[in-house]
Amino acid sequence: MTIQWLQFLLVVVVALGAAVVVVSLFAGGIRLLATPRDAVAPGTPRDEEFDDLPRGRRPAGITAAGVTLFVLAGAVAAFGVALLVAR
C-alpha cells in the first residue's frame, strides 16, 4: 500500500502559498485605496464650516499602486490556475 504523502504536503504548501499571496495583494490594494480621498473633518457634513475645511487628497501614486496590486492579485490567480491545469 503506497500513500503518496508528498502529494498531501504539496497540496497544503501550494494552497497556503497561493492563497496568502493573492489575499495579501488584494488586501494591500484595498488598504492603499482606503487612503482617504477626502479627509474626514471634525464635525458633520451638515456643518457649513465643513465645506471650508481643507480636504486631504489621495496621491495619484497611491491610487496607481493600489490598482497595480489588484491587477497583480488577478494575474497570480490566473497564473496559478494555468500552472495547475498544465501537466
Binding site: 501550494v14 494552497a15 488584494f26 494591500g28 484595498i30 488577478g74 490556475v81 495547475l84 491545469v85
Partner: protein, 390 residues
C-alpha cells in the same frame, strides 16, 4: 443493440443525471455569498457559475483517472473485476443515498456517496480484490479528512492577513467593503475549481463503464465526448440550481463579511485546484465548510462550537459507509441477473419519483439550500461587539 450495450447506455444516462444533481446542489457553495452581499446580480452570478463549471470540467482529468483507472478493477482487466451491472448498482446506491439525505436535510457529500456506492457494490459483487484499497485510502479517504483541514488552516491564515493588512489605527473607513468586488473573482474561482473536481467523478464513472463494457482500452483517460457531456450536465445543473436560489433569495443567509468571504473563497479554490491537480477526489462542500470555519476563527476572539462542528463532521463520516450499504444491496439484486438489473432500475426510478413528488420544491427556502456550508459557519462563535466604532 445487445443487452450489455443497453446496460452501458443506462449507466451513462444515470451518471449524467447524477452529474446534473451535483451541479444543481452545489451552486450555492460558490455563488451564495456574492449574491447575498450584492456583489453580483443573481442572474449574472448563476450564469458565470455555469460557464466556469463548464470550463473547469475541461481543464483537468486527473480526478477522472483516479476513478476510472485506479479505484476499481474493471471486468475487462481481470477475472475479479466490476462489470457494467455492478457500476449501475453502485451508482444507484449513490443516487438513492443522495436523495434520501437531501430529503431529510442531512449534510452529505455527493462525491462520497458515489465512492461509497461503487465500493459497496464492487465488494459484494466482485469481492474485495476488485477495489484498490490504497487508491481508496490515498486518493479519497485521506483527502476527505485532510482537505477540509487544509482549507481551514489556509482560510484562518489568510483571513487574519486580510484583516491585519486592512486594519487602520486612525479610525477612518477601512474600505473592507471593497472585498465585495473581490468576491466576484474569488467565487468565480470556486466555480471553476468545482468543475475541475466534481464533473470529473462522473467522467470517471462513465469511462469506467466503457472500459468494463469492453468499449474502451483499460487505463485510458476519458474520451472527449464524455468530458463534453459531463461538462454540459454539470453546467446545466448549476444553472437550474441557481434559479431555485434566485426564487428563494432574501431569507436567512448567514452574514459573512466580505473580507471573510473573500478569504474563505480563495482558500477553497486554492485547495480544490491543488487537489484536482494531483488527482484527489474530494468533496467541494467539505472543503468550503472547512474554509468557512477557518475564516470564522480567523476573526478576532472567535471560538469553535465543537458540538455543532462534531454534528456536521459525523454526518460526513456516515455518507461513505451508508452509501456503500445501499450500493451493496443493489449489487445483491443485480447478481440475480437481468431480472435483478431491471428491478434495481425500476426501484431506483420509483424512489426518485416518490422523493421528488413528496419534497414539493416550492417549500424549499434559502436556509436549506445553503444549509451545509452555512451550518459550518454556525460552528464558530463570535464575541458580541461592544461599542463598535468604525
Amino acid at each position: 443493440m445487445t443487452a450489455a450495450l443497453v446496460l452501458v447506455v443506462i449507466v451513462i444516462v444515470l451518471a449524467l443525471v447524477f452529474d446534473f444533481t451535483n451541479g444543481f446542489h452545489d451552486t450555492a457553495n460558490a455563488m451564495a455569498t456574492p449574491i447575498a452581499t450584492g456583489a453580483m446580480t443573481p442572474r449574472l452570478a448563476v450564469a458565470v457559475a455555469a460557464v466556469l463549471n463548464l470550463v473547469g470540467a475541461f481543464l483537468s482529468t486527473e480526478v477522472a483517472r483516479t476513478v476510472s483507472g485506479g479505484l476499481l478493477t474493471a471486468e475487462a482487466d481481470g477475472a475479479s473485476g466490476v462489470g457494467p451491472a455492478l457500476i449501475l448498482a453502485g451508482l444507484m446506491g449513490a443516487i438513492l443515498w443522495n436523495l434520501t439525505t437531501w430529503y431529510f436535510g442531512l449534510p452529505s457529500s455527493s462525491s462520497h456517496a458515489l465512492f461509497g456506492g461503487l465500493v459497496g457494490a464492487a465488494v459484494v459483487g466482485a469481492g474485495l480484490g476488485a477495489v484498490d484499497w490504497s487508491v481508496l485510502l490515498g486518493k479519497v479517504i485521506l483527502p476527505a479528512v485532510l482537505a477540509p483541514l487544509t482549507a481551514g488552516l489556509v482560510a484562518f491564515t489568510v483571513t487574519r492577513l486580510a484583516y491585519r493588512i486592512t486594519r487602520r489605527a486612525d479610525g477612518l473607513p477601512d474600505g473592507r467593503r471593497g472585498f465585495r468586488v473581490g468576491q466576484i473573482f474569488s467565487s468565480s474561482l470556486v466555480a471553476l475549481a468545482h468543475g475541475t473536481n466534481d464533473a470529473q467523478k462522473t467522467m470517471g464513472v462513465i469511462t469506467l463503464v466503457l472500459i468494463a463494457g469492453g468499449l474502451q482500452q483499460p487505463g485510458s483517460g476519458p474520451e472527449l465526448w464524455v468530458v463534453a457531456a459531463c461538462a454540459l450536465a454539470i453546467a446545466a445543473g448549476t444553472y437550474s440550481g441557481g434559479w431555485r436560489i434566485i426564487r428563494t433569495m432574501g431569507t436567512g443567509l448567514t452574514a459573512v463579511k466580505p473580507a471573510q468571504g473573500f478569504s474563505a473563497e480563495v482558500s477553497t479554490a486554492a485547495t480544490v485546484l491543488a487537489s484536482s491537480h494531483v488527482g484527489f477526489a474530494l468533496s467541494t462542500t467539505h472543503v468550503a465548510s472547512g474554509s468557512v470555519i477557518g475564516s470564522g476563527l480567523g476573526r478576532r476572539g472567535a471560538t469553535v462550537r465543537w458540538g455543532t462542528a462534531r454534528r456536521i463532521v459525523s454526518g460526513w463520516l456516515l455518507t461513505l459507509p451508508a452509501a456503500a450499504v445501499v450500493g451493496a444491496l443493489a449489487a445483491l439484486l443485480v447478481g440475480l441477473g437481468p431480472v435483478g438489473v431491471g428491478l434495481v432500475v425500476a426501484l431506483g426510478a420509483g424512489f426518485m419519483v416518490a422523493v421528488f413528488l413528496k419534497a414539493r420544491p416550492e417549500r424549499v427556502d434559502a436556509s436549506s439550500l445553503e444549509a451545509e456550508v452555512n451550518a459550518a459557519g454556525t460552528a464558530v462563535r463570535r464575541p458580541r461587539k461592544k461599542g463598535r466604532t468604525r
